[in-house]
Amino acid sequence: MTGNNLYEPVRGVIRGIIEETPEIKTFSLETDEPVEFYPGQFILLAAPGTGEAPFTPSPRPGGEPGVEVTVKRTGDITGALHRKKKGDTLGVRGPCGKGFPLEKLRNREFIIIARGRHLASVRPLILDILSSRDSYPSVTLLYGCRSPGDLLYRTDLEKWGEKFRVLKTAETPGESWNGEAGPLPGLFSRLSPEPENCSAVVAGSPEIIRSGAGALKEMGVDESRVWVPVEKRISCGFGKCRCCLAGTYYVCRDGPVFPYSRVKDLPGLWV
């Protein structure tokens, strides 16, 4: 929580920037106050004078105070964030939302499907898997990107591959690419879950979420055990401004992670 006023941010100083791809950067921020979050919750990151937008925080390596945030350049705010340099100050609010129900994901077979920048929204969950490996008996990550140059967290992916099953695919693979070729849904046939004992997370565009959840349903995985991070315009972050309303849910307060069964038919959400 950011002090007494819900809307005032705490200061976050940029201590490191990783250029993941030409359009995606990961910022390492040292914050004035600790930001204690749960995997799947989000924070609001502000470029002072431009505005703020929601992002998924990850812990900084080595347990340093603050957060790591991966930002894809898509509009004014993310553009302003991308122009920031080491030592610059950003505003940080949150954490907001409920996050993943870890108790429902642990001790079961677990499948993660993610495409492109959306891997950032499941990264904290993957870090939880790594830190409590015994709680996740079987993990598979299917990750798809446009081209090898768009691959996110490339060093992390290698390390994750040593701990659990990671299949990655690029739509336009180059010569040095060591993964699969083709769109992400092409990997779905490589899954053979035990439906009764399986949970999943699908993170991506509405098309990826629909096709991923649809493929899992065909394999017998109940839609109530498929969790999807929902993206909407977020403003206040605490259910006070109605900006992120999805049906009768506030994405910021009740989400941003929902069981697919609960949100799949909400009108206007998957435009």
Binding site: G75, K232, S235, K240, C241
Partner: protein, 331 residues
């Protein structure tokens, strides 16, 4: 407890309250003004601007320093039953009861005393009964005013703050027949409101009707005169859609929730997820869906209190009741 005051005594009471409080009430221009500054008041008018909502959620938000409204206790006199319903049923729930509470709203709310007044002569645009309300407050008001035909005031009050404000005033109880006269005025007002709109169960049935009817042709026809000005949302006592914007206070950036409207073209749009309000008919229908279905699901009461303010301010002369009638006529 019920006491009676003449208009002169009532004005004296307002003057006394003004010594230690900021006393606001509807003026003869149809606004809510500070009694000390404007002096004249008209409790029969329904203020469209600077409604009760604006004392808690001002259009441009509050800067970090807070509000001048916190310098003294604030008393709003002449709020309507519809105002109180919106405040207790929607705004307080969102900003106080839903965790985490909004501390700025909370401090302003704590500082605010509402004195309600019966609607003796509801406007032609009022349809509060059809949305589950009534032209007078049935419960929840600490102090309520009823104006009798000779201009005298019946003041019904209960609670600590009410006793503090009225406790030491001269006690003169209602005369014989006063309560009966008040009830007759209330009955006449209720009859008038019932006659303003034929759909009597709007509160419970309108949400389903809006949900079921999503044809572009229907909504396109009823929204033709909408110019997306957002006036309907701004004067609505329950609308609280806002955007958290930055403003500067000296050399410092501060945050403030500033009013937004679901009728605006860019409402809830984002680079990653497009613009849900691109088509006018969809934005227009969203307002009805929000008022009669979504808010009713969330708060147990519709987000429309039937105050009719949106009907009065609309430059396109769109009447919510006409739209609803159009939907009800489709079977």
């Amino acid at each position: 407890m019920i006491i009676k005051k003449t208009e002169k005594e009532f004005k004296e009471l307002l003057s006394r309250w003004s010594l230690e409080n900021l006393v606001f009430l509807p003026d003869t221009r149809g606004r809510i003004s500070l009694f000390e500054e404007f002096g004249e008041f008209d409790l029969a008018s329904l203020p469209l601007w600077r409604g009760v909502k604006e004392f808690l959620l001002p259009a441009r938000g509050f800067a970090a320093g807070g509000s001048s409204l916190l310098e003294k206790p604030v008393i709003i006199v002449g709020a309507r039953s519809c105002d109180l319903r919106a405040l207790a049923g929607v705004l307080d729930r969102v900003f106080l009861e839903n965790e985490p509470a909004d501390a700025v709203y909370g401090s302003l709310r704590d500082n605010l005393t509402i004195v309600t007044a019966d609607c003796a002569s509801p406007a032609d645009t009022c349809f509060c009964i059809q949305t589950g309300g009534s032209p007078y407050v049935k419960q929840g008001s600490g102090i309520n005013l009823s104006i009798l035909k000779n201009g005298e005031f019946l003041i019904e009050f209960s609670g600590e703050r009410a006793v503090e404000l009225l406790g030491d005033s001269e006690r003169s109880g209602p005369g014989p027949g006063d309560i009966l006269q008040r009830d007759n005025i209330r009955d006449t007002a209720s009859r008038k409101v019932r006659g303003n709109f034929g759909v009597s169960d709007c509160e419970t049935s309108a949400g389903k009707k809006v949900l079921e009817n999503d044809a572009a042709e229907l909504w396109g026809a009823v929204s033709g005169d909408c110019i997306r000005c957002g006036g309907c949302c701004f004067c609505c006592p329950t609308c609280y859609c806002a955007l958290l914007n930055e403003s500067t206070s000296g050399k410092k950036f501060t945050r403030a929730l500033q009013w937004d409207s679901c009728q605006f073209k860019g409402y809830a749009s984002s680079p990653g997820r497009g613009n849900p309000g691109k088509e006018l008919w969809k934005s227009f229908r969203h307002r009805y869906l929000c008022k009669f279905y979504l808010m009713r699901e969330e708060f147990g009461i519709p987000g429309c209190t039937g105050c009719g303010r949106c009907v009065q301010v609309c430059p396109g002369r769109i009447d919510m009741r006409d739209t609803l009638k159009e939907i009800y006529d489709r079977e």
